[in-house]
């Protein structure tokens, strides 16, 4: 009886499962190719149409900023506007796919839209269409509304460019809305400054009137740790300072004896590693994000400084030490164990290590015996190295953009020390600062 019952039950369950099961849906697949040489899609950005004369300048500015952002992304090609069809669409209904795909435009994608403006508000409708697709849906479609100011329009343009880049780069966010912190002495004292990624909107953050160095963004981009010379009890020494972008002021951070410098954030933002001579020799220490509970990590005869925490794994730290006689790069675990030297084929000074966002590449400055400081990128696992600046002044302090495709650095190639940015393969160098001396850039993580 029992076995009969079980058999009936099993059959019932099987029937139920069969009925509930959805039919298997066949899957798409595609095949595509990439070549060693650059293979970029062409994105045309039509002139955004002003809805009234009052919107003309903002429409032109929006168009230009979007074009610049896309061109500098390194992954797209923006055809010259002289190749565009004479009639620019302002809404999707006006977009004729064929005239954009035909020569000489040869576009794969077309961005367009319109700008309306009143005394109280600017409204920008913006679209991106894949003009070689059978789909009539926009790849991107946005409406931006805000104060009718130049700054707001620039911000919207960056946001639209980032939308496009996010779609066309496999989900990797664009960097058009990111910021760069740096040190500027243009007003006398070295203060921490900030600017848009394209050099626009440069403004000071601190006004300590002493010396501020080595700014480092927290992973959530809410704070900047830096080296400062804040006097306390009549004593001036290098300390770690913390600037809050939310509060707009310097927050308290523990003070230590000796010289304290070169802070680096852990990827989760809970710890800070820095170089300190609180016990005599400059060694690496780690504390929490307020400077509490310092723990010594390195024990060597030479000085250890410039730690860089692998942002992906959080387990490896690259740093500089002269324990072998001259400054060289070393790797260690985040708890200070397993220190290994990154032995390079040539001698010379190696400084300023900076991990790429994916934690796979290490950029650094290297002064080879017969040369100047230049920026190099290394794959630590294979020890392969690529030189990405050459014969153009002294190039130092690289910092990666969050997209891993751009590097900001300081260079003396124009005679004064300025901030420059380039694609991570060394192409498209662009000068971002001009006024005074500017150094030690650090790219915001978002």
């Amino acid at each position: 009886m029992l076995s009969k019952f079980r058999r009936i039950g099993s059959i019932s369950i099987l029937i139920s499962l069969a009925l509930f099961a959805k039919p298997a849906i066949g899957q798409d697949w595609f095949r595509t190719s990439i070549g060693m040489d650059v293979n970029k899609p062409r994105v045309a950005i039509a002139d955004f149409a002003p809805r009234a004369d009052s919107a003309k300048s903002h429409a032109a500015a929006f168009t230009q900023v979007v074009r610049d952002d896309l061109q500098f992304s390194g992954i797209l090609e923006v055809p010259s506007s002289s190749f565009y069809p004479p009639q620019a669409p302002s809404v999707p209904a006006e977009l004729k796919f064929a005239i954009w795909t035909d020569p000489p435009t040869n576009a794969n994608f077309v961005g367009f839209g319109n700008v309306s403006e009143s005394t109280a508000e600017v409204a920008i409708e913006a679209w991106l269409f894949d003009v070689r697709s059978v789909s009539m849906q926009p790849v991107v479609g946005k409406v931006y509304r805000g104060a009718p100011t130049d700054a707001e329009v620039r911000k919207f343009a960056h946001q639209f460019a980032d939308e496009i880049l996010g779609k066309l780069s496999g989900g990797l966010p664009g960097v058009a809305s990111t910021q760069i912190a740096f040190v500027s002495a243009r007003n006398g004292a070295k203060e921490i400054w900030m600017m848009d990624y394209d050099g626009a909107n440069q403004r000071p953050l601190t006004s300590l009137r002493t010396i501020s160095l080595t700014p480092r963004w927290s992973p959530d981009a809410s704070r900047i740790a830096f080296t400062c010379f804040m006097p306390a009890n009549g004593l001036v020494s290098a300390q770690i300072c913390m600037y809050s972008l939310d509060a707009g002021k310097v927050l308290s951070f523990a003070r230590f004896r000796g010289t304290n410098s070169a802070p680096a954030w852990s990827p989760d933002g809970t710890q800070i590693m820095f170089s300190s001579s609180m016990q005599g020799n400059p060694e690496l220490y780690v504390t929490d994000s307020s400077g509490n509970r310092p723990k010594r990590l390195t024990f060597a005869n030479g000085a250890s400084t410039s730690p860089a925490w692998n942002p992906k794994t959080g387990q490896t730290v690259a740093f500089v030490s002269d324990r072998g006689g001259i400054p060289k790069l070393y790797l260690m675990n985040a708890d200070g164990t397993n220190v290994t030297e990154l032995d390079l084929p040539d001698k010379g000074y190696l400084i300023d290590p900076a991990w790429s966002p994916n934690g796979q590449l290490l950029a650094f400055s290297w002064r080879r015996p017969d040369g100047n400081y230049d920026i190099y990128v290394m794959d630590p696992s294979s020890r392969r190295i690529v030189e990405i600046t050459r014969d153009a002044g002294r190039n130092e302090r690289p910092s990666w953009a969050p997209d891993g495709r751009h590097i900001v650095f300081e260079s003396t190639r124009t005679g004064t020390r300025q901030i420059w940015v380039m694609i991570a393969d060394g192409t498209q160098p662009r000068q971002l600062t001009n006024s005074g001396n500017n150094e030690s850039p650090n790219w915001s993580p978002r």
Binding site: L2, L19, Q137, G146, L168, G170
Partner: protein, 266 residues
């Protein structure tokens, strides 16, 4: 002392069996009802069945809500369809230049120019479901996914029932996949022979899950040069995630084959 009585378990099982049969009968009726409703509700997407492809009824952009973007309070970015179609009504009053264009677009809407390609008709006999990309045929820009050489060594080959038109509908997504992986293709790790070769080619096949993560990465066509294959394989593995599949794509995953070519071949 034991007493011989009718086995009480038999009585209990009989009752349960009756209950079970009644419940299963009710369950079967419910399942059939649910199945009928389920099939009826899947009218605009899913498996086409007889024709072996997904049946997708294209509707106007107004009918398809775009994926909602995170609303940034400062920018007041809003859903484009809302903004667009709220703004549409006031536009007709502009008689200046749009008077002739708007009706034209209305006529063209059902037949986008991309479908009318003559080049495509005459040029591509082999792929029965080849993508009428743009004007059709091979665009003269180097986007590999739109090219359809029949030897299968590069370009798009699309088949299957999950829509069978992924490459034509989501060219932007494929462009993103290429860009993302290209960024992780460390060509410097290829030995001198591999880099100097003008004929080296390998293909890596992998599966893209809905969340953009990749799995089952393997060399499907080796080049014969270990470092060349290794760099290609690592490019995909190290990328890890190539971006979420398009929100309106109905499939659970997509299989992709990426050809890694020397400079002169795309």
């Amino acid at each position: 002392m034991t007493t011989a009585v009718a086995n009480p378990q038999d009585v209990t099982l009989r009752n349960y069996l009756i209950y079970s049969l009644v419940l299963h009968a009710a369950l079967t009726v419910a399942v059939f009802t649910a199945t009928v409703f389920d099939r009826r509700g899947n009218a605009w997407g899913g498996v086409g069945g007889e024709l072996g492809g997904t049946k997708v009824n294209l509707v106007t952009a107004a009918g398809i809500p775009l994926p909602k973007e995170p609303v940034v309070t400062e920018s007041k970015a809003v859903d484009p369809t809302k903004g667009l179609y709220k703004e549409e009504p006031p536009k007709p009053p502009e008689p200046k230049t749009d008077a002739t264009k708007i009706p034209k677009f209305e006529k063209e809407k059902p037949l986008p120019p991309s479908h009318k390609s003559k080049t495509f008709e005459s040029k591509t006999p082999p792929p029965d479901n080849a993508v009428p990309y743009g004007k059709g045929g091979n665009p003269d820009v180097p986007t590999g996914y739109s090219q359809t050489p029949s030897d299968g060594s590069s370009g798009v080959t699309v088949k299957g029932q999950g829509g069978a038109d992924f490459a034509s509908r989501y060219g932007w997504y494929i462009e993103g996949v290429k860009n993302r992986i290209y960024g992780n293709w460390q060509q410097w790790t290829i030995d001198a022979a591999g880099r100097a070769s003008r004929t080296a080619h390998c293909a890596v096949t992998f599966t893209i899950n809905r969340d953009g993560s990749v799995k089952d990465v393997h060399i499907s066509e080796p080049s014969g040069n270990y470092s060349y294959d290794s760099a290609a394989l690592h490019a995909v593995v190290n990328t890890g995630n190539v971006g979420k599949l398009p929100g309106d794509y109905s499939g659970a995953y997509v299989e992709a084959t990426l050809d890694f070519n020397p400079p002169s071949i795309h």
